[in-house]
């Protein structure tokens, strides 16, 4: 587990637990980090919007630039305009899915639920939850983009078609990922199950927001050193921040 309050590390500013199959907006100021800790079986879809809300996470550019088909530390999550939005500073899991988008109504199993009947246990898809959250910020369908699905793993097979294989049981209780904001970002998080998860068993994710740590020399930062492309995205963010 990474350093938290009580040891010589960044101060925990606050903690919030996103319940199973819920959505939450997290504005994260540049330099701050968030430590996300999952309950067993969790999936966390994350959209990222930059300080200019038109500049959002580009999974395609992030994967292409860093030569991976998944998200893993210490990769940099990049925007459409080549800015580093977040650095994935650490994780207990080797990789996280970014190929499969988020669940829609057809991925919510069982009979239709309603608030009238099921109160706050009613089931809504990730798409519904995320759009509801985006609407609070005056954003909508056109602001949707491919999310990262933290705590989930989908492997691409070696056959010619590149078949996808979802790995059940990948996330165990206490698995975590830490992200550092490289810009003032808005994160939209959703704990609905991964769309390829055969069962509806959403789990909670705890978010601990940490104060900015001491500024280490850029050249020593693991994300900066990953590859020239991640370094350039981080330099772009520095330039944009002044």
């Amino acid at each position: 587990m990474p350093t938290t309050a009580g040891r010589a590390g960044p101060e925990v500013l606050y903690t919030h637990t996103v319940p199973p199959a819920a959505a939450w907006s997290l504005p994260l100021a540049r330099g701050r980090s968030v430590l996300l800790t999952a309950a067993a079986g969790a999936n966390l879809a994350m959209l990222v919007l930059g300080p200019d809300r038109l500049d959002r996470l580009s999974v395609a550019d992030t994967l292409t630039a860093q030569g991976r088909a998944c998200v893993a530390p210490p990769m940099v999550l990049m925007s459409d305009r080549g800015l580093a939005l977040l650095s994935v500073t650490g994780s207990s899991l080797p990789s996280h899915d970014a190929l499969c988008g988020m669940g829609a109504e057809r991925h919510v199993p069982g009979a239709a639920t309603s608030f009238q009947r099921d109160r706050n246990d009613w089931r809504r898809s990730a798409r519904t939850l995320v759009l509801s959250e985006l609407a609070k910020h005056g954003l909508g369908e056109l602001d949707l983009h491919a999310p990262v699905s933290f705590f989930s793993r989908v492997c691409v097979q070696e056959d010619a078609a590149g078949s996808l294989a979802y790995l059940p049981g990948y996330c165990r209780d206490g698995d975590w990922v830490s992200l550092r904001a490289e810009q003032d970002v808005l994160l939209v998080l959703c704990t609905a199950p991964h769309p390829l998860d055969p069962q509806w068993a959403p789990a909670a994710v705890q978010a601990r927001v940490l104060a900015a740590g001491p500024a280490a020399p850029l050249g020593e930062d693991a994300s900066y050193r990953l590859c020239p492309q991640s370094a350039r995205a981080l330099e772009q963010s520095l330039r944009a921040s002044g």
């Binding site: 550019d61 088909a69 988008g101 829609a104 369908e141 691409v156 078609a161 590149g162 078949s163 772009q236």
Partner: protein, 229 residues
């Protein structure tokens, strides 16, 4: 089966040795409603009615044609790469692939493909991502996003409407380790891919000008667009 390539209609039997995944389109050039050559660095916005066929032809081989699709009645109902990949369960596009919108509506289906596979994971090039991938010296080189914005403007497609698109004729492989890399390609002049639309669709095409990697064989060349409706 009649094989028609971008170099004019010719008739030949599909070779018996072709893999089952390759399919030649039976439509003939002479009856096309749309027939344009799009030079590298240029683009086109095609309005294709429901049931129409749009064929992209890689005239000289090793040329990426980037594309975005939109429901003509509602731009927010736009092509979604990740929803398409997930729903079809495979990461490559090929004959039979249904191109889905973010609302999971079918926009078009690939009905003919003499190439075998097309990429929708790596997105479409832009000046900003070029600068990240290749260095600052590439920031002012032309890229597909400029072309999309230029041709999309006439129908209200702007920065907010853009999203990750398809790179037809681009061969990208995902290794078991999860590494993503440009493949050797199935480069052959005259390859084509043909879509049949499942509703009225806008297809925004850019003939990719990328010079910094092997996507276009280090030499961007024109593609031909043919349409039947």
């Amino acid at each position: 089966m009649t094989a028609v390539t971008g170099r004019g209609a010719r008739t030949s039997a599909a070779p018996a040795s072709r893999s089952a995944r390759e399919r030649y389109s039976p439509r003939t050039v002479g009856k096309a409603r749309l027939d344009v050559v799009v030079e590298s660095g240029d683009g086109y916005l095609a309005t294709v009615p429901h049931g129409g066929h749009l064929r992209l032809v890689d005239l000289h081989g090793s040329q990426v044609a980037a594309a975005l699709l939109f429901d003509a009645a509602d731009l927010a109902n736009r092509y979604s790469a990740v929803d398409t990949v997930r729903e079809q369960g495979v990461s490559q596009l090929s004959r039979g692939s249904v191109l889905l919108s973010a609302r999971l509506d079918p926009l078009a289906r690939i009905v003919a493909d003499s190439c075998g596979r097309h990429d929708t994971l790596t997105g479409v090039c832009a000046q900003e991502s070029n600068a990240v991938r290749f260095g600052e010296h590439t920031r002012h080189q032309h890229a597909c996003r400029e072309t999309f914005l230029r041709y999309g403007a006439a129908r209200g497609i702007g920065a907010r409407e853009l999203s990750a698109g398809i790179s037809f004729f681009k061969d990208v492989a995902v290794a078991p380790s999860g590494e993503l890399a440009l493949g050797d390609g199935t480069a052959a002049p005259g390859r084509h891919v043909e879509l049949r639309t499942e509703r009225d669709v806008l297809v925004l095409v850019s003939c990719c000008p990328q010079l910094n990697d092997a996507s276009n064989g280090w030499n961007p060349t024109p593609v031909r667009l043919l349409g039947w409706w």
